[in-house]
């Protein structure tokens, strides 16, 4: 359980969400990414391969982070969504707002 941040060799920040992304911990994700933005990071990949479920406030946190990253000239990508998780993005049409790759490798390849 928890949100883990690592730095990719190509310079992207890779964030792994273990467990859920919900109202109880979305602030943790926001703080981590906002902190990285403040230290100059601009490329972000959030990987959901180990995520159980996401609630609407988790989706909302992703929307607001993606806005802020874009405003600062950066990019936020997503990966590792299984069928159920991906359906949350499709139902809410958020799949049109995010760059979604199957695997972190694919997301990082052309970052």
């Amino acid at each position: 359980m928890g949100i883990h941040l690592t730095k990719d060799a190509g310079g992207a920040v890779v964030v792994r969400v273990d467990g859920q992304l919900i109202v109880g911990n979305r602030q943790e994700l926001k703080d981590l990414i906002n902190g990285a933005l403040d230290s100059g990071e601009r490329k972000f990949l959030i990987d959901f391969a180990r995520t159980g479920y996401i609630d609407s406030s988790g989706l909302g946190a992703l929307v607001s982070l993606s806005k802020r990253v874009r405003e600062l000239g950066g990019e936020l990508r997503l990966s590792g969504l299984n069928e159920d998780l991906r359906s949350l993005f499709e139902l809410t049409k958020l799949d049109t707002l995010f760059a979604i790759a199957d695997t972190p490798e694919q997301a990082l390849a052309n970052f």
Binding site: G19, Q20, I22, V23, G24, G52, Y53, I54, D55, S56, S57, L59, G60, A61, V63, S64, K67, D84, L88, L91, T92, K93, L94, T96, L97
Partner: protein, 138 residues
């Protein structure tokens, strides 16, 4: 034996930090003894997380004096979960569609929409402080 209907009830404090544990506890009881159905589990977990978050945050406004009541009815063909808070309620008809172009990039307002998409039936009591969600065990 024509398996009995089982009722599971619990009270949860009005703390967002309690939502995840309550979701997993209730889901465990709801799915106990049935063949694993990962899609049903996922839909139940998300719908419950949404309903509990609304009850804790919108309904009870995180007032420690108030609590959230969860009542589940487990039947062979379906699960019904009712989440009731001690708030003033609201009118679900007034909640805008989050997938309209003007709302699609909003940072909130997708909770009830997701619940409606994920479960098979949603009902509110008249006051709007109690939501009742039914999921069929397909």
């Amino acid at each position: 034996m024509h398996p009995a209907e089982v009722r599971v009830q619990l009270k949860m404090p009005s703390e967002v930090a309690c939502i995840e544990q309550t979701v997993s506890l209730v889901a465990r009881h709801c799915l106990s003894g049935t063949a694993a159905n990962e899609s049903l589990r996922f839909r139940l977990q998300v719908a419950l997380a949404e309903a509990l978050a609304n009850a804790v945050v919108c309904g009870n406004q995180e007032d420690p004096a108030k609590s959230v009541q969860v009542d589940a009815e487990l039947r062979i063909d379906r699960i019904t979960v009712q989440v009731t808070d001690e708030g003033d309620g609201f009118d679900p008809e007034q909640v805008p569609e989050p997938v309209l172009p003007e709302h699609i990039a909003d940072t909130c307002g997708r909770g009830l929409f997701l619940i409606r998409k994920l479960v098979d039936d949603v009902r509110f009591n008249e006051q709007g402080n109690s939501i009742c969600m039914t999921l069929r065990r397909r």
